[in-house]
């Protein structure tokens, strides 16, 4: 892709990543006792960002001196082990779901310690508090652990340099690590890390305030392009995902879950299911009680000796359901309810100036309503998990974004103490937030306990479409006051949607700060009167976070901004920059959010990505007939992102996106290739939500079932994405999610530019009518 690319040792597969997700040997390896020896020993403070989704703080540093291990592996840090032969093992403790974290965070350690990447093996952690927060969501991995990984690497480097200095009897200041060796400058003498392990292992770990971190010009891997460590396994079909785990004696389970959330089994007849060859037994699961959290939904499970028998027999179960309180959920009626809600005043959660006075004095008040339905994750790997419960232990293998959350859940089911529960993290075959909610692992634990053998639970695609966690459904009403000169003097945004927090607290029935903070509360416009109001909306299905979270807020705000531009007779880019106003720092605390020292919200950086996108896309150029350009931008997850979409609309209303320019300012980029890939993927997902994304309910049941009616973008429909990162060395922030929200509004604005048609509901389908 560029001259900066770091190629792996040739040929492409010379370095094989350790398949650390390989399951523990057959049966069950006893749960490893965690000793102090395993804990972090560096004198560094674990940097843990504020989690969006409830994470635990990391273990504080323990001890000050490394254990002596003259002939064996040396573990100077919870994340780092150096073998006697110099091989460096780096733990990846976060969840790899395609975003590249299993490569990026370890590469930061390797960079700071001057390790040769070809002599690094990355190993996947189990779920364990000793690693700090492992709940992988909210685009937080880099924000939370970049500094910690640098300190880990710098600490090991310092010890290796000191070991060399001692061996040679020279000042440590003259010794510098470089590419897996320590070199004595004056003499040119050098030693491989392997030759220094024994001496380094008896040294005290330096305190973090004495560490010398590299300057950006010294970076070996950070900001460059590294191939994903799992790539060789992936292209050979050897990578292990949740459903790929096989244990001796393992049974296969498929479950008939209540068709309506909080429904219960009234009675069932399993005669036909039991007649299917390979079926061994049928187990009723306990009904879920609110709050639903990440708990198994209940239902009836078929246990068989292969997946097919279980899935086939499951469909033959005859079950009478008590449908419970959500059987009245009907999407069209709910849409009307939400729209009615946002036509009325709501609870003000941000109120500056006096919108009503601005509107009363306005020459024009512009109003518009927007609606976006439920979405679901549609990751390619449906949920699957294996559990092996014995009398005194429980081991889980699961594609999970939140392994630590499974431990108390399994403890509750099994009655075992938490230190007898082990959670192995497989690769996730896509996750997008879904696999932060381990109901499928909870099911496996229930069933393994019930049948006394290891059990794999396999969800079908229909299971996931009908029993998933859904991105919320929303209505928004926006109003702007324009004065005689066309200045925007007031902005009012009313919105209503069921909240994510309803899965934790059934009484939560309106948007919360976490969700509102992704675009709505954080509206950075320099308008005198700004009012944000939220309305009540009950949750009738499980509401869950999905990549980017509350994505529709960007849709409503950016499309309405474009509508304002046309009402003012202004170019949409000029209007956007005018509303953004002079560069300044937004006080997030004034909205009940947190001002982060390293990540202040600076509107100048948002302006930067907007201007860069406009420049790269050739904003203002003449386009072919039927084409249009649209722009949108959003600050979310501490990252600034903008998109310029070019749409081509044919005479029959069919449309496609020949090109999208995406710009991102996330501070220091860690792995440029993976960061670019995340934006390319964000464009495809954003396009999919805009074209197809819609999950609906009738009688409390989800109406869609598979890729035929819960459609996603296919090859040939994808846009050509052109991605540009703002180059700077500011503290890094997340790149997994921020690219998605600008896409749909930029597309809608482009369609308006091409056709003069203003679309205010998603999805828009294949044809513009």
């Amino acid at each position: 892709m560029s001259a900066y690319r770091i190629q792996p040792p040739a040929p492409p597969f010379a370095r094989k990543a350790v398949a650390a997700s390989t399951p523990t040997a057959p049966g069950f390896e006893p749960v490893r006792a965690v000793s102090r020896r395993d804990f972090l020993k560096a004198g560094s403070v674990l940097v843990v960002g504020v989690s969006l989704f409830g994470c635990s703080p990391g273990e504080p540093p323990a001890g000050t001196a490394a254990e002596s291990a003259p002939s064996g592996p040396w573990t100077p840090d919870v994340y780092v082990t150096v073998e006697a032969d110099g091989l460096v093992r780096i733990i990846s403790h976060r969840c790899e779901m395609g975003q590249g974290v299993k490569t990026s965070l370890p590469s930061v350690v390797a960079d700071e310690m001057e390790a040769d990447w070809s002599r690094v093996l990355v190993e996947q952690a189990t779920g364990d508090k000793k690693y700090g927060d492992q709940s992988t969501g909210g685009s937080l991995s880099i924000i939370s652990f970049y500094q910690r990984m640098r300190e880990a690497g710098a600490s090991v480097r310092a010890m290796l340099e000191q070991a060399a200095a001692q061996q040679w009897g020279v000042p440590v200041a003259d010794c510098r690590a470089a590419n897996h060796r320590v070199v004595h400058g004056p003499s040119g003498r050098s030693a491989d890390f392997a030759e220094l392990v024994a001496a380094a292992s008896v040294l005290a770990v330096p305190p973090v305030d004495r560490l010398r971190l590299k300057t950006p010009d010294e970076f070996r891997y950070i900001g460059k392009e590294l191939q994903s460590v799992d790539l060789p396994d992936i292209v050979r079909g050897e990578a292990k995902y949740g459903a790929d785990i096989v244990l001796p004696g393992m049974k296969y389970a498929a479950i008939a879950r209540p068709p309506v959330v909080l429904g219960k089994v009234r009675s069932f007849n399993a005669d036909k299911a039991m007649a299917v060859p390979g079926v061994e037994q049928v187990v009723e699961l306990p009904a879920v009680e609110p709050p639903v959290m990440f708990k198994a939904l209940g239902g009836v499970a078929v246990i068989a000796d292969n997946s097919w028998a279980a899935l086939k027999a499951r469909d033959l179960l005859e079950i009478e359901w008590d449908e419970g309180p959500n059987a009245d959920y009907e999407s069209e009626a709910f849409r009307q309810q939400l729209l009615e809600t946002v036509r009325q005043p709501g609870e003000a959660v941000r109120d500056e100036g006096d919108f009503d006075a601005a509107a009363a004095a306005a020459a024009q008040v512009l109003e518009a309503e927007y609606y976006a339905p439920h979405l679901n994750h549609m990751m390619m790997e449906p949920p699957a998990a294996v559990a092996s419960v014995t009398e005194d232990s429980c081991e889980i293998w699961a594609p999970t974004q939140d392994p630590q959350s499974l431990i108390p859940m399994a403890a509750a089911v099994t009655g075992l103490p938490e230190d007898r529960i082990r959670v192995n993290m497989t690769l996730c075959g896509g996750a997008f937030g879904r696999k932060g909610k381990g109901d499928y692992a909870d099911e496996a634990v229930h069933l393994s306990k019930a049948v006394g053998a290891p059990v794999k639970v396999q969800w079908s695609r229909e299971d996931e479409v009908r029993h998933g966690y859904y991105h919320t459904v929303s209505a928004q009403h926006l109003a702007a006051a324009l004065d005689e000169e066309g200045r925007v003097t007031g902005w009012r945004h009313r919105l209503a949607y069921p909240t994510i927090f309803s899965i934790f607290d059934p009484a939560a029935n309106s948007p919360q700060t976490l969700e509102l903070g992704l675009g709505a509360l954080t509206l950075p416009y320099a308008v005198d009167s700004i009012r944000l109001e939220k309305g009540a909306a009950p949750a009738k299905v499980r509401i869950g976070w999905l990549r980017s979270v509350a994505i529709f807020q960007s849709f409503g705000i950016n499309v309405f901004t474009d509508e304002i531009a046309h009402a003012r007779g202004m170019d949409p880019l000029d209007n956007l920059l005018d509303l953004l106003g002079p560069d300044r720092t937004i006080d997030l605390a004034s909205f009940g959010m947190e001002n982060k020292e390293n990540h202040p919200f600076q509107t100048g950086r948002l302006r930067g990505v907007i201007e860069l996108a406009a420049e790269k896309a050739g904003w203002g150029r003449s386009v072919p007939a039927g084409h249009g350009l649209g722009i949108a931008a959003q600050y979310s997850f501490d990252t600034y992102a903008a998109s310029v979409v070019e749409v081509a609309v044919a005479d029959d209303g069919s449309w496609h996106v020949p090109r999208v320019v995406m710009t991102v300012d996330c501070g220091q980029v860690v792995n440029l290739d993976r960061a670019v890939a995340q934006q390319e993927g964000a464009a495809v997902m954003g396009l999919g939500f805009a074209r197809y994304g819609r999950i609906t309910a009738r009688d409390g049941r989800i109406e869609q079932g598979n890729f035929n009616n819960a459609r996603v973008v296919r090859h040939g429909e994808h846009p050509q994405a052109e991605v540009h990162f703002v180059q700077n060395h500011l503290p890094p922030s997340g790149i997994g999610e921020p690219g998605v929200p600008p896409f749909a509004p930029a597309l809608i604005n482009a369609i308006f530019a091409a056709t003069g048609k203003r679309l205010r509901e998603l999805p828009i389908g294949n044809r513009i009518g």
Partner: protein
């Protein structure tokens, strides 16, 4: 008894003839490189070659696979260095990777029948294999690079 060849080895199966080939490969042979995703032939994650053609193994019954020669991702190349596998590495195609065995098997089938496909022909041939991570742009480039072009 159903007999078939998988990656060159003769295999026998005596169970339910309605079982899709996918589950025979995964659960009975342990060839887990072939992925389950939709079960209805809608997404292509389970794509294998049967008698040289790309098929969706989730909708091919074992009865229909009798006497067939089946190749899975594990059998695509003895060294795991099929030109497409190398191209996938050079273009860093995968994100989560779950669909990629199916993508590669579909692409290999395309190139076997049309060694120099146009971008449109690539899109047509690959349309049935979904990637939710959105790696299509790189898939297209990787296939084109093997085909000799540079899309």
């Amino acid at each position: 008894m159903i007999t078939l060849k998988v990656n060159g080895e003769t295999r026998e199966y005596g169970g339910d003839g309605d079982m899709p080939l996918l589950w025979f490969l995964r659960d009975l042979l342990g060839l887990t490189g072939t992925k389950y995703s939709c079960g209805k032939g809608l997404c292509g994650a389970c794509t294998v070659h049967m008698n040289g053609a790309a098929v969706r193994s989730c909708v091919i019954t074992m009865a229909a696979a009798a006497d067939a020669e089946v190749t899975t991702i594990e059998g695509l190349s003895p060294t795991g260095e099929h030109p497409l596998q190398i191209a996938w590495a050079e273009h860093d195609v995968p994100q989560c990777g779950y669909c990629q065995p199916g993508q590669i098997m579909q692409a290999a089938s395309l190139l076997a029948s049309n060694p120099n496909p146009s971008a449109e022909q690539i899109a047509d041939a690959m349309n049935g294999v979904i990637c939710r991570c959105g790696t299509y742009q790189r898939i297209g480039k990787a296939i084109a690079s093997v085909a000799g072009g540079d899309a």
